[in-house]
Symmetry: C2
DNA sequence: GCTATACCGGAGCGAATCGCTCCGCAAGCG
DNA sequence: CGCTTGCGGAGCGATTCGCTCCGGTATAGC
């Protein structure tokens, strides 16, 4: 065997396939949730199952990579929000961007895969950025004072996954997808208006703790 | 064979089992969504699979019955709201009650079962009641004017299904269930505040049409 | 008590689907 | 051409599905 072997002949195709796989995985995961199958992902990517398993040794490894990307997307949205000088506009940008990112694949598979270092790192940075966004908005008096960062993240998660959109996709009713997106935008606007100061009355109960987020990535069923 | 045979020996037990089955089916459906299995339902009800299939000839028949009950619950919530003299309190009651009912089993199985006459009837009455609730709130000037009944129903659906609660249940973290419920109550309050008149700005896009609701009960994948 | 009967629980069937392996083949390079 | 490299997908064992079927059990009448 020679020292420097031949250059990879079909390397470009491999790279294209990898990108297609990640995109398809994201879509299928958003569609089928925790029951997304590798076969369906490969098919949607227009790639053989064999190629998928050459790139990722297991399904879990693929999902971990996907989570890392999704977490980075959320982080970017938060940091873009911070870059806006207007505290309210920055916060609103984070909320709408996060929701527009779609079910970033996180929710459905939380607790089903092991955490990687990259996931932990991005997650911590994102939490910090969101905390800063909330703090700044509070200081400026544009965010109702009894809303915490945990409230905000839970609200986003709640609005991210849409039963309606999911089902329409599953039925292949792409003709209604646009209407469904528009409907969700309206709901998002309603929720955002509910976040503005001043609040007509304080929120019920105690503020949610962060253990609701951390605990869910622990061992599954 | 004599004309009038013996009376049923174990009829009371059969009735108890039926109620347990419906309750269990509701819970499992809320937990596992479209992938709820009859075995799990029977187990949760503390009843054999055989007994389930003696009462309901197929899984679909059980789900249809469940849907009828859930639709009646929603209808009752709407009519209770109308019974309240205060337009806003009535509307808020409908929203919070619907959400508290939990994922009434409707969303997850929409499109997977055939519609019964009872389902259609309840559904129509419920739609009329909600329309009246919205109209009355508009007339009283307490509901932001650009919100339609369809907006409201979509908002409720969006808040009904909680990824967080579902996952915690699946992990058996009953210790966090209370915190999760409280967190959702806060989010519901935020959304309700966003619905109050006057609105800081009009909602984006066109009002959603009702075809988003009707179309989803059509033939599945 | 005993018998007849209505109802119970669950082992287990065939079918479907899962994650994943393995291998014959095609495409690009010298 | 020969060699390498990545490709697609048939198919494996395991699991899970909806559902059937039957031996057993509790109860009402005698």
């Amino acid at each position: 065997m020679t020292e420097h072997t031949r250059r990879a002949p079909r390397q470009a195709e491999a790279e294209r396939n990898d990108r297609a796989l990640l995109q398809a995985a994201r879509e299928v995961l958003a569609l089928d949730g925790e029951h997304a199958s590798v076969a369906r992902i490969a098919e949607r990517a227009g790639v053989g199952i064999g190629s998928l398993y050459r790139r990722y040794r297991t399904k879990e490894e693929l999902f971990q990579r996907l989570c890392e990307i999704a977490l980075d997307d959320y982080l970017a949205a938060a940091e873009q929000g911070l870059a806006d000088d207007d505290p309210w506009a920055g916060l609103a940008h984070y909320v709408t961007s996060s929701i527009a990112l779609g079910p970033g694949s996180l929710g459905p598979i939380a607790g089903t895969i092991a955490l990687t270092d990259a996931m932990n790192a991005s997650s911590e940075r994102a939490d910090a950025a969101v905390a800063a966004l909330v703090e700044r908005a509070h200081a400026a008096g544009v965010l109702r004072p009894d809303v915490t960062a945990a409230d905000l993240e839970l609200l986003i998660e709640q609005l991210t996954k849409s039963p309606l959109v999911d089902q329409l996709n599953r039925q292949g009713r792409t003709d209604l997808a646009e209407a469904a997106r528009n409907a969700r935008a309206r709901i998002t606007a309603i929720a955002l208006d509910g976040l503005r100061a001043p609040a007509p009355h304080p929120l019920p109960g105690d503020p949610p703790g962060y253990e609701l987020f951390t605990e869910r990535w622990k061992p599954a069923t």
